[in-house]
């Protein structure tokens, strides 16, 4: 029978994907450019900043060969303003605007480099912030403050996600724009379970609605524009 693994990604898997995000580092040692399968790594010349994938940046940071320049949104004033916004509205704070004509998605967007916009949370905000706070807390201004704000932000957003379940009903939906990868990984099991349950309970009603619609169509009342793929969650 089916694999006992739940659908979706686990937190470590999400964090693994997040390690592809580019971050800005200030190298302390020279390193020649590397030709890796994931793309070329530019040569490191102290003291010029370079963008590296997070996994390499963390590695170099642990070996004390580089300092990480945290993205602008990972600072107390930015997090404060985002937290205030989250507290004042029922929706999530808007995600990072995509540059026009782009076809890429996270982790291939420069959303965690030193010149990322300071006023929006990128897709991998939670896991990136956690990893940077853990490995490079000495490069982040006021790390304790940032950690506290991150935790508050997470609590507020998780509470919103759980509250969103209450308004779920056939036809209505919960807007989840701006929800991060790790939050999806955490909320998937519960939200999916609720939606499945509601569908099971409402199955008979749904069926009679379909029958009624089919009848109306046969009698020529319903007209042509039926919404077959109008999915109720």
């Amino acid at each position: 029978m089916a694999l006992p693994l739940p659908p979706g990604l686990t937190p470590p898997e999400t964090a693994f994907l997040c390690e592809m995000e580019m971050v800005t580092v200030i190298p302390r040692q020279r390193l020649e450019g590397l030709e890796l399968l994931g793309g070329p790594i530019p040569p490191l010349n102290p003291p010029y900043r370079t963008s590296l994938p997070l996994w390499l940046a963390l590695l170099l940071k642990r070996q004390r060969r580089a300092n990480v320049l945290p993205p602008p949104w990972l600072s107390p004033p930015s997090l404060h303003s985002i937290l205030d916004f989250e507290k004042s509205t029922p929706s999530f704070s808007p995600p990072l605007p995509l540059p026009p004509h782009t076809t890429t998605s996270p982790p291939f967007l420069p959303s965690a480099t030193a010149n990322a916009p300071p006023d929006a949370l990128p897709y991998h905000w939670l896991e990136l912030g956690e990893m940077l706070l853990e490995a490079a807390s000495d490069d982040i201004p006021e790390p304790d403050n940032v950690r506290r704000l991150m935790r508050d932000l997470r609590e507020v957003r998780m509470a919103k996600m759980r509250a969103g379940v209450g308004v779920l009903e056939g036809g209505r939906e919960v807007k989840m724009n701006g929800v991060g990868g790790m939050e999806v990984a955490e909320g998937r099991a519960f939200i999916g379970g609720v939606v499945d349950g509601l569908r099971k309970i409402g199955a008979s009603k749904e069926m009679s609605r379909r029958e009624r619609e089919a009848e109306e169509r046969e009698n020529g009342i319903g007209g042509g524009e039926d919404d077959e793929d109008d999915m109720d969650i």
Binding site: T10, P11, E130, R162, E186, G187, F190, G193, S204
Partner: protein
């Protein structure tokens, strides 16, 4: 409907619902603890869901008379529904039926009572929000929430388990990142 081997579907089918026989049927007395005897019209018996739904849709003879009628089980009686409407979180669904929602959904397929569907959906949502809160902070599960969590039906238990699992996995990952230092 789930898979053929879905244990929850099987257990749902085994739950008993009341039905009333409309005909005298010879030799079926053993259903009413009267082995060898006949079953009389108007007898009420509790039959498993799989049997009663089959009997209820079965027609006999040229007059196509119904063999038996399915009654609304006590677990979705107006009294219970009123209680659910008043306070969804205080009702012990497990005591009513271990697979409460699935039983109700199966029965409602035959009854077409849209109002009951609405009440049950509302109940499930309200209880789901409560379940999420308890799954999130495990201390609650031992304290005053114990009664509520014991009253969950099987579907809600699964929901609790999966919500608890993902919040646990998250906590584990967060703890791991701190330990590696």
């Amino acid at each position: 409907m789930g898979s053929y081997y879905d244990i929850d579907a099987i257990l749902t089918d085994a739950q008993k619902v009341p039905c009333t026989f409309d005909l005298d049927i010879p030799g079926l007395g053993y259903l009413d603890e009267n082995a060898g005897g006949d079953i009389k019209a108007g007898t009420r018996v509790s039959l498993p869901l799989w049997l009663s739904t089959l009997l209820a849709v079965q027609r006999l003879g040229p007059s196509s008379q119904q063999l038996c009628t399915l009654d609304l089980p006590a677990s979705i009686s107006p009294r219970v529904l009123a209680a659910l409407k008043a306070g969804p979180k205080t009702v012990d669904l497990r005591q009513l039926a271990s697979h409460y929602y699935e039983l109700a959904a199966r029965v409602l397929e035959l009854f077409e009572e849209e109002e009951i569907v609405d009440v049950l959906g509302e109940t499930f949502k309200e209880r789901a929000a409560e379940i999420a809160d308890h799954a999130h902070n495990p201390r609650g599960a031992l304290g005053e929430a114990q009664d509520f969590l014991r009253g969950l039906d099987e579907m809600e238990r699964q929901l609790f388990r999966s919500a608890h699992g993902s919040s646990n996995a998250m906590r584990e990952w967060m703890g791991e990142t701190k330990k590696k230092r």
